[in-house]
Amino acid sequence: MRRTIVAGRATGPVLRSAEPINFLGAVDAARGAISDPSHALHGRALRGTILAFPHGTGSSVGAYTVYALKANGVAPAAMVCARPDASVVSGCAIAGIPLMLDGGLCAGVRDGQECTVDTVALTAVPA
């Protein structure tokens, strides 16, 4: 079931991860990129993307990393998760990054595809 967590609307290329993301351990908040060499998205930039991933993991401080991405101007335009975790939810809420829950979309969307996500109307429309 699709649910709104943080309201908003954004368009961008989908960055899809089949693996969860540990924001404290695996993301470089200054450069806005996945910095963990063992992560499938290693080196990929987050800025302006529709980040689709199963869920966040790891330290409670990961919420600050989500906020720092926004403060540093390198945050995803929106996020879509299969299940919520406290760090991603609260980080997006503070940073004002639109966030929607949709397991089907996370699994089915194609990496790199342009997409417009409206977390209030609960729509995700490929461009």
Binding site: I5, A63, A68
Partner: protein, 386 residues
């Protein structure tokens, strides 16, 4: 989620900007977990204190909150920072200035400057520890698991912003009851488990469940050190917020035997030996400091051994004479910080670190970039103190 009239007002900014920010977090978190509403908390424990982890953006966020006159509404304690405030570590000025800024922001919000990840231990007495069954909001994962599983309290495994929001609003969302079919049972099948075995059990079990894990066969032999090790290991590997001992569960059933123990150990222990020893993640309490001093006896460590503890525990150990015994044995005692994510352990100075902590092993390897030699505390003392 149902909000009262007053909570709606707060969410829409009628109680000021800081309260609006706090409610935005509480409502998003509550909606995400399917909470029916908010409930009062009698204690919040914050993470997001170390300049190493929250950086300049986090420090500025907190400075802005403090400048707006934000005050916490409930008793609020906080996690360790990057170093011992009373020691001169020769750290770069930029780090020290950033760290001092964070501390002063929290202080001006009315937070107790405890710098400890073991609030359950240093605030054990009835005057400050809430009565059993009360709701609290702990962001530090080992403390949340301890509070829910053995501390008689109830908390979400809060995010850093979730705990801060709970501190400011004095409330947090209440998760709906868990489906018993999603609670796995992990059976301990290791003979004579050490403190490290409990940490590895926690690490294994934390990845197996999502909220609660039922542990079978662990209750009998577990002492306080083993219990802390279990909580920290469990908090490191997943999203779990509590364990039950020999409880009822209808989820998946798994064994934690020699093979699973060795598998977890192999993934965390990456070096044969350490250039230095680091003990204390979670920080050691006064009882553990006394226990360590007795374990070492008249011997002393032949390489650098840093022992991280809570300020209150160090003061108790000073009074009891244990601190002096540990220093004579070559231990460096540091308060306010812990073995995880401190800039005091750096790949510029050491290639590898010996520790007994699963949590420290995880972060030393991933964040500090050093090798880790993971062993039970008794084996570290036997092998390294002569």
């Amino acid at each position: 989620m149902e909000l009262t009239r007053d909570e709606e007002d707060a969410l829409h900014g009628r109680h000021g900007e800081a309260m609006e920010t706090a409610y935005r977090v509480l409502v998003a978190t509550g909606e995400a977990m399917g909470a029916a509403g908010l409930e009062e908390v009698s204690w919040a424990h914050l993470s997001g204190v170390n300049y190493n982890t929250i950086g300049e953006a986090g420090a500025r966020f907190l400075a802005d909150m403090a400048a707006r006159g934000t005050r916490v509404q409930t008793r609020t304690t906080l996690n360790p920072m990057g170093y011992d405030a009373r020691a001169d570590h020769g750290l770069p000025g930029e780090f020290v200035r950033g760290q001092e800024g964070i501390a002063s922001s929290y202080e001006s919000m009315g937070v107790d400057m405890s710098f400890s990840c073991i609030p359950y231990e240093i605030f054990r007495e009835g005057d400050v520890l809430p009565r059993a069954g009360r709701r609290v909001a702990f962001a530090e994962s080992n403390a949340a698991i301890y509070a829910n599983s053995v501390g008689g309290l109830r908390t979400n495994k809060e995010s850093a912003f979730g705990a801060l929001a709970a501190a400011i609003a004095g409330k947090s969302p209440v998760a709906p009851p868990e489906d018993p079919a999603s609670v796995p049972t992990v059976r301990l099948r290791v003979d004579g488990p050490t403190d490290l075995d409990y940490g590895l059990l926690g690490y294994f079990a934390g990845a197996a469940g999502s909220q609660t894990v039922n542990l079978a066969g662990a209750a009998g032999p577990m002492d306080h050190r083993g219990c802390k090790s279990l909580c920290a290991g469990m908090g490191t590997s997943g999203t779990c917020s509590r364990f039950a001992l020999d409880g009822q569960a209808c989820g998946e059933r798994l064994d934690f035997g020699r093979e699973e123990r060795d598998g977890a150990l192999d993934s965390l222990s990456t070096a044969e030996t350490g250039d230095m020893i680091a003990l204390g993640s979670p920080q050691l309490g006064a009882g553990e400091l006394a226990g360590l001093a007795s374990m070492i006896g008249g011997a002393s460590f032949k390489k650098r051994c840093v022992v991280f503890c809570a300020r209150a525990s160090l003061e108790a150990a000073e009074a009891a004479g244990d601190a002096a015994r540990l220093r004579r044995a070559g231990c460096e005692l540091l308060a306010d910080c812990c073995a995880c994510l401190t800039p005091l352990i750096s790949a510029d100075d050491v290639d590898s670190v010996t520790t007994s902590s699963v949590k420290a092993a995880y972060y030393l390897s991933r964040s500090n970039g050093v090798g880790v030699d993971l062993r039970p505390i008794s084996e570290i003392v036997r092998g390294e103190a002569r």
